[in-house]
Amino acid sequence: MTASTASSPPAAKPSPLAWLERITSNFLLQRLVKALFTIWLVTTITFFVVRAMPGNVVDIMLQELTAAGVSPDDARNQAAALMGVNLDQPVYEQYLAYLVKVLQGDLGMSYRSQGLKVSELIVQVLPWTLFSVGLSLLITFILGIMLGAVMAYNHDTWIDYLLSNLAATLDATSPYLIGLLAVLLFGVIWKSVPIMDMRGALSPGIQPAFSLEFFADVFKHVKVLLLVSVLASVGSWMLTMKSSTIATLGEDYVTAARARGLPDSRILTAYVGRNATLPLVTRLAISIGFTMGGSILLESLFTYRGIGYQLADAIAKRDYPIMQGVFLVITIAVVLANLLADFLYGWLDPRIRIAGGGQ
């Protein structure tokens, strides 16, 4: 980037590569390229795990099938068909073919359930996870901002101490343990929620429709999962918001706004809130991955039939085609969500957009 500016003469005539630089320093484009690169990287890692690594998935399947009495040739054909690879090609051709198949949305067939297409399974379960994870992130974000601001405004009072300690404890406890505690408290000790009835994402016989019954049933199945995943991540949001609000409260423009006699509510929303929230938007990226990753454990704990549950199930059954497909889709979902968070950040903070990204 510096090369083109250094080579260009100080005259008014722009460097012939200036247009290239303008494109590469475009914030949105940079992020888009980064996202595509990440997806490519993960696809490649998955390919190596599936095919090229010593002790890879295809080898394991071959061993398992021959041990089960299938002839070596049949085993080879079967494994190749399920994973969607051609074992007679050289590895790099298999790799290219693999990339093309992933682009086409072809993720192979299930190893344990005959005739089940991995992509069809994912289309069925993914919406439930996107719904629960998205809702959880939204609630956590709002709750974290509000409680963090309350902590900052009441700095060094008992409210602050109480909330700070609560947030630190929640932050230090894993979602899985919070989930177990929730089952114990709600299901066993207080007996207030029938945990067993909440299996699945919907009760049998309920059809998706725009009706009260449908939404009530969706909520019934997701409520404890939602509560646990909010509790598991709200702590770090609260602490981040607290420190960023305290930092913003010390800024000159806040003092100036006070001196001008602006009402507190206006200072809180337009001056402090807006600026203090910015660092949290960057945290969103980490939080999306964390919540998606945590969904494997939480969804299987509550038997919520989302994509996390499906991954855990595939792992338990060693259903490798489903495993790789679900893993790919989870990662792509997280990368796309990150891209969205980046765009949001660029929109909220013009400095990022104009300065051309960078760190």
Binding site: T38, L41, V49, A172, T173, L311, I315, M323, F327, V334
Partner: protein, 294 residues
Amino acid sequence: MNRFEGLASLGRETWKTFKLLSRNKMGLFGFILVVVIVLLSFVGPLVWPPEDSANVADINQGISAKHWLGTDFQGQDNLRKIINGGRDVITIGFLTGILATLIAVSVGSFSAFVGGRVDTWLMDLVNVWLTIPKFPLLAVLATVLSLKDIVTLSVLMALLDWPGLSRQVRSQVLSLKQRDYVEAATMLDLGTPHIIFRELLPNMMSFIVISMIFTMTQAIYQQTGLVFLGIVPYSGANWSVMITAAQRRGVLYNPQAMWSILAPMGAIILFQLGLVSFARSLDEVFNPRLRTSV
């Protein structure tokens, strides 16, 4: 130069740190908690060896004078299992923490020192790596590799865990590089190893230790999750295995047997709480700006 002098000064520094630490009640509490749990897990099994037979008469009992933390689905004493089940969990935590920190410090300081295009590329790669959800990747890799022992598991977790830390190490090194004493050492031409090991690292020690502790807590949780998913060998007395075993037996829905799940959970949470409050107080010990406030 003089190794003994170095050791003596290290001893003095440790004592000073401990004295500073004892001023912070929360940190001291955390430190003592960690030491007690580690001692109990490594020395305790010699005094209270694991029970090797089931006691059919005492299955799933609540707390009593005889069984302080109740008994599990095999009638074995929960407290005794807790004492015997800490070693693996703690070892995995320490190993992963140390390995991940080592890689992170090497890569982070290398990136900061080399600078330029290598630095940009490395950090771009780290940023990309950070967007990949780690736990699903860990779960898939651990399944395919079918890990047998805790050392390989720790190595795998460390290989996945270092990037975030290396980014922080890099920014620390970049800011320390601007300090006068480092510039003086550079001008005296003392060599990069001297600058890294004698000037930079000692000043980053608190930060490194704190990050290591947080990596440890992460590793312990990840291990708990892997056991729950049935990826990591489901054998031996181990806090995570205790939780999963109790849960698979439906103990979660049997109020009387709740202690079989509460006890290992409590052990993990107490250990993590100890680690985290110790780490937080270290921050205050080493960062004078934090000592007066909060």
